[in-house]
Subunit: 202 residues, 2 copies
Amino acid sequence: MDSSGETRIQRENRSRILSAGLEVFSAAGFNGATLDAIARAAELSKPNLLYYFPSKKAIYTALLDRLLDTWLDPLRALDPEGEPMDEMLSYVGRKLTLARDYPRESRLFAGEILRGAPHLKSELSGPLRVLVLEKGRIVRAWMDAGHLAKSDPRHLIMSIWALTQHYADFEVQVRAVLGPGHDPWVEAEQEVITHFRRVLAP
Amino acid sequence: MDSSGETRIQRENRSRILSAGLEVFSAAGFNGATLDAIARAAELSKPNLLYYFPSKKAIYTALLDRLLDTWLDPLRALDPEGEPMDEMLSYVGRKLTLARDYPRESRLFAGEILRGAPHLKSELSGPLRVLVLEKGRIVRAWMDAGHLAKSDPRHLIMSIWALTQHYADFEVQVRAVLGPGHDPWVEAEQEVITHFRRVLAP
DNA sequence: CGTCCGTTTGACCGCATGGTCAAATGCATG
DNA sequence: CATGCATTTGACCATGCGGTCAAACGGACG
């Protein structure tokens, strides 16, 4: 018995399943993913999966729920006390690093949004919207004070998402265009930072 | 009989099927789409679909094949004889208009790339890559001549794709962030053009 | 009117897949 | 060791879906 209400084996198996689910869902999408494929990736039998999660959808939503929070962390870290241009470019850098290190999470998220966000629409118009508005006010203040070029902060933030996640979500296309012998992520770091430095320069 | 080898009814039904397929595939993805749903949307019986197309995959690939060409038209129209900044911003505008007027095509494409482009990988590293390289040389010449700020033209072109298509592919997220009372496309026009004017200004 | 051929359809098939269940297998504790 | 609960699994079920087929329908032409 265990005071947390969850044994070590439960914690471990749940974690294996979520990890396997991320792998399969991000590569094949919700409809393309099968319980057998997830079970195989988790090295568990199919009925055993369903001992820990009641359904395929439950695995999927468990992943999505965990995801949004970490996904927004870089934006949360935007510091109103910092130097404006540094803060913005650091944010761009953090977001790009996140996309590079967690492309499966990025693609899982992209797939969900692309299909109309059936499982987290409320999260989008709730916490997400609130955070963007809140951080948007900080950015606007920086713009008004002449530290950054003026634009709609919400569209600016979305443009940062679009550019950074593009390298993860459309990776095959990026690799195809650049051709072999190029490391997209190395070049992206340089290009994206320069890109936003120009956009933001007052 | 008909000298073109295709009767009016064939042309019309094939067109209905492709239109229905676009609707269903773009909303649900390849795996989420069903022949019954496509048949319903096309107002035809399921076996009748398969009289015109041999399989579900055939409808999907027929759509994709038609798509890439029109999708690249705005880039093809980039005129080496034009005024550099005007040419680039016109390209951005055309791409944004395309995304606004054909969001289903954009999402169909996005879904395909997101899943690793199994059905048009060769198109990406072939015609797409060639076109980007070719137009990239034009852009580079403009940069070298001091008409545009210097950057890697291929990444620049991809950033234009990322930003414009973002408004179509992630439309639910954009709407959620902006909230009601905002027309994303109206604001996008203004913001995206300004965005790239700054990026491109020498 | 009858024939022929393009078109349409209801009925059906096989298979993959999400999910169930009862029985078996650990495994910790008294 | 014995008991009881957590865990695991093989076998199975129901359903949805891609695809087939033989038969029916329809219209152009002799």
